[in-house]
């Protein structure tokens, strides 16, 4: 097994067992993991904002277009749409005292990701969301498990 590959903001990747992917330092960003347990193939898209503008050259940056692209790429890797399941990590509110409309962008990212996954018929099986702490998420494509760590030591496997 190789070292987990790091997926930054507005990046997308697909892996097969036994490879792993990691998103480091998710704040209001959301890591959307979609996995086919039958084929042991899955992918992550690391989105920053909820909705893509009409003219958009980086679909991976937005929850709606990112989810669509992730599912499309997974299907082109031979996965079966009926088997796909999704997990969501992130969407925290890092600065709660700012008087900015965008201060809780994390929640909007999550709402948009859920909505698009629902439209695409992909079921969400686990979530680790919100709060005021950043997270790192490691996705293991051999099990489909996502290990979520926070800054000060808590680890949870979903």
């Amino acid at each position: 097994m190789t070292e987990p590959r790091s997926i930054g903001i507005a990046q997308l990747a697909i892996v097969h067992a036994p490879d792993q992917l990691v998103c480091l330092g998710l704040g209001s960003c959301v890591a959307i993991v979609v996995y086919d347990p039958g084929l042991k193939t899955g992918g992550i898209v690391h989105v920053l904002l909820p909705r893509a503008p009409p003219k958009c050259d980086v679909p991976e940056k937005y929850a709606d277009s990112g989810v669509k692209k992730l599912i499309k790429e997974l299907l082109s890797h031979g996965t079966s749409k009926g088997r796909l399941v999704a997990k969501l990590v992130g969407g925290a509110q890092m600065f709660s005292n700012l008087n900015l409309a965008i201060a809780n962008i994390g929640r909007e990212n999550v709402m948009e990701a859920r909505k698009t996954l629902h439209e695409q018929g992909v079921k969400i099986v686990a979530e680790e969301l919100y709060g005021s702490r950043g997270r790192s998420a490691v996705f293991d494509s051999s099990t489909g498990k996502v290990t979520v760590r926070t800054a000060f030591g808590n680890t949870r496997v979903i």
Binding site: S6, L100, I102
Partner: protein, 202 residues
């Protein structure tokens, strides 16, 4: 667009970064009641994606103070203190043992204030040089993974910004040293305004 201006902007930023760091060192000296000099100041113009790497990795724990300018100049501003620097500063200010995972309200407030003082002195330096008022909103601070701290600054500027002005300053006292990083995320109109005011029409 931004690439062409990068060189000129960097020259200008270097000038005010040095002045700003000097003022910030003076202000911090009186806050902490120790002699501080700004030891080294370096400047970079970076694509946003490279910023976490420049600061030492998305997964390190940092103290971040974020605010934004409301006025003619539109820019996000983030002051980042590495873990050790934040610990040393807070310990010195509060005379308490600091647990960054569980800051008390007083400690959080002290952290905000340090960030606020640093960023205001930088802004005063810039503002004097280009003769434009800069009005920062009240800041907020958090201690967390660097990547997470940077998410909101990035999200609030969305696709309008892809370059960060990054300034690193080492402050040095007799028995201590700490680092501060000052990140300015200007909208293109703000970069243009700075250049115009400095007599380098973009």
């Amino acid at each position: 667009m931004i690439d062409e201006k990068a060189g000129k902007v960097l020259e200008i930023i270097k000038e005010f970064a040095n002045i700003g760091a000097g003022s910030a060192a003076t202000a911090l000296s009186s806050l902490l009641d120790v002699e501080l000099m700004n030891d080294v100041t370096t400047c970079n113009l970076l694509p946003l994606a490279k910023v976490p790497e420049w600061l030492g990795g998305a997964e390190q724990i940092v103290a971040g103070t974020y605010t934004y300018l409301c006025g003619d100049l539109k820019s996000g501003i983030l002051v980042v203190l590495p873990q050790e620097s934040a610990l040393a500063l807070l310990n010195h200010l509060t005379k308490e043992n600091i647990d960054l995972a569980h800051l008390t309200p007083i400690q959080t407030s002290a952290l905000k204030e340090v960030g606020n003082i640093c960023l205001c002195w930088y802004l005063i330096a810039v503002s004097k040089m280009i003769d434009v008022d800069m009005i920062p909103a009240p800041p907020d601070a958090t201690v967390d993974l660097l990547g997470a701290v940077m998410d909101l600054p990035l999200a609030s500027l969305g696709e309008k910004v892809d370059t960060a002005i990054a300034v690193h300053t080492s402050f040095k006292g007799i028995d201590r040293q700490f680092d501060g990083y000052f990140l300015m995320l200007p909208e293109e109109s703000t970069l243009k305004l700075i250049l115009d005011k400095m007599g380098e029409p973009g």
